[in-house]
């Protein structure tokens, strides 16, 4: 009898335990139901979300290599000129559909002046070294009266610098080409600039990084055009230093009795080479192979 009573004394404890257990089970069930699968796998988030972030979008910008698979010529041309670093799809838009359809699906071919002016419109906020124009001013400068003419009439967007065919064949510097339109055979004219003269382009408009780099070096006071005689009618246009032989540097740096103290440092040639211990097999060694530092970096963009 007493045993029976003792047993009854614990009944409420069992009930309490049962309630607690039910609560725990209920909580576990609620957690199972509310917390998604893979939550907490890597952190306080759904692990599976990472996989969907990787896969739910497909790349649409395919890159120049894909373009070159079919348009090798265009890409090669493009890689040689001022737009070399402009990715194809910056102008043409994403190429995925076009590439997958092997050219059957159209790709954007931006038209009108706006397509060029999106980058080349003169804006106060654009870096000064970046080529930019007011197109009406530019048309006046190059002598185009018809405003309906598009930029592409002169500039091939893949090879924008050397514009029309004559120019491209001659490799004339585009700016000097335009000077010669008026100044050809008029050397006797006054050098004072007339009021209605079209704006004159500075080297830095197009070659900003090079000009900037040059300004910090020993030749900074020398004009660009002193070395870059940019109307030579062959492949070396504007690049006289590249194929320069020592005589070019000696134009200024030959030791001569009649020079003043502030003249450029003069040397005796070819004794200078022997003094420097240049060996006979280096006979082709050019001045710039040792003196590059005095001029400007060779691989500055543009």
């Amino acid at each position: 009898m007493s045993g029976q009573l003792e047993k009854n004394d614990f009944r409420h404890t069992y009930r309490l335990i049962a309630v607690l257990v039910l609560f725990v089970v209920g909580a576990a069930f609620a957690r199972w139901w509310a917390v998604p699968e893979t939550f907490g796998q890597f952190g306080r988030y759904r692990g599976a979300a990472v996989a969907s972030a990787r896969t739910e979008t497909v790349p649409r910008y395919v890159g120049e290599e894909t373009c070159a698979d079919c348009h090798e010529d265009q890409v090669e041309l493009h890689d040689k000129d001022a737009h070399a670093r402009v990715p194809c799809e910056t102008c043409h838009g994403p190429g995925k559909e076009h590439a997958e359809a092997e050219g059957e699906a159209p790709i954007a071919r931006p038209e009108g002046k706006g397509a060029c002016l999106v980058c080349h419109q003169r804006l106060a906020a654009r870096p000064g070294s970046f080529p930019q124009i007011e197109w009406r001013e530019h048309y006046k400068f190059v002598g185009v009266a018809d405003e309906s003419v598009e930029c592409t009439r002169c500039h091939d967007p893949h090879e924008p610098l050397y514009m029309d065919r004559d120019l491209r064949t001659a490799r004339l510097h585009p700016m000097i080409h335009r000077c010669r339109d008026c100044h050809q055979g008029r050397e006797d004219e006054s050098l004072e600039r007339p009021e209605n003269h079209p704006p004159i382009f500075e080297c830095s408009y197009c070659h900003g990084p090079i000009v900037e780099d040059f300004a910090g070096r020993t030749h900074a006071s020398v004009r660009c055009t002193s070395c870059h005689i940019f109307f030579r009618e062959d492949e070396s246009t504007g690049r006289i230093i590249r194929d320069a032989d020592p005589r070019f540097c000696l134009l200024c740096h030959r030791a001569a009795d009649f020079r003043s103290d502030d003249a450029p440092p003069g040397i005796e040639w070819p004794a200078h080479r022997e003094e420097m211990g240049t060996f006979p097999e280096d006979a082709d060694k050019r001045c710039i192979d040792c003196h590059r530092e005095n001029i400007h970096a060779s691989e500055v963009s543009q």
Partner: protein, 246 residues
């Protein structure tokens, strides 16, 4: 007697059952999309913007929109144009209409420049901290992402971001943001904005790789961060930033 035993058995069964349920939330098999050779623990992605190179063509913005199908009226990345006059009064505008082209504006400027903006993918991202449902998180390779199955669109993260780079998508009514083109970078491609930048103003790279272009640039130490006082440890490094930009 049998009654008490069955009760004990019941407890055992219930205990084991709840234990099983708890185990159920533990390890799971590998995820689809993670079986490729991309190891997310081997990378930690960062971003740099050279403001002296930005020409404000907005190619990045157009590329981002096309690549990620960004809704009308919101942006994942954009370019701000600063115009500061002689009295240091600052005007900032963005080209987020039509073709996203900056037009010339009249008015005196002492100096002017472009500043591209993008999610900073902060190491201590406040947007992830405030998310009540764990929909916002940073992946192990350092990209702050949104789980669109979890997001409830409460907008806490949008308010928390000190850089204003998050938005509530008008189509899905969920938070959204720059993913650093996670679908591209995990395939070895560059984010669309970097891949389309014509001047190399935008740089993307691996902070864990000391030889990456980004690490090389950052080693020179000539960068600034936006709002470093917020303690968010942003990973978007700005080169050549004007003192006016914070």
């Amino acid at each position: 007697m049998s009654k008490e035993l069955s009760r004990r058995e019941l407890l055992k069964v219930l205990g084991a059952g709840s234990g099983l349920l708890l185990i159920h939330c533990g390890p799971v098999p590998p995820l689809p999309g993670t079986e490729t050779d991309y190891d997310w623990e081997a990378h930690f992605w960062g971003y740099a913007i050279d403001t002296t190179k930005c020409i404000g063509c907005n190619a990045c913005m157009r590329a981002c929109r096309a690549e990620n199908d960004v809704s009308e009226g919101v942006n994942r990345t954009w370019v701000e144009r600063y115009r500061i006059d002689a009295h240091e009064s600052v005007r900032v505008d963005i080209a987020d209409k039509g073709d996203y082209v900056f037009e010339p504006v009249a008015g005196d400027v002492a100096r002017a420049f472009f500043v591209p903006k993008i999610c900073n993918h902060c190491e201590k991202s406040v947007c992830s901290q405030v998310c009540p449902v764990g929909a916002s998180y940073m992946s192990k390779d350092g990209v702050v992402l949104v789980d669109h199955q979890r997001c409830i669109g409460c907008g806490y993260c949008v308010q928390a971001c000190p850089y204003g780079t998050r938005y509530i998508d008008p189509r899905t009514h969920m938070a959204d943001k720059c993913t650093l083109c996670y679908h591209r970078i995990t395939r070895g491609l560059q984010p669309a904005c970097v891949a389309s930048c014509p001047t190399g103003a935008r740089m993307f790279g691996d902070l864990k790789d000391p030889k990456s272009t980004l690490s090389t640039v950052l080693r020179q130490g000539r960068y600034r961060l936006l709002r470093p006082e917020m303690g968010t440890h942003p990973k978007c490094y700005y080169l050549g930033l004007d003192r006016e930009v914070v």
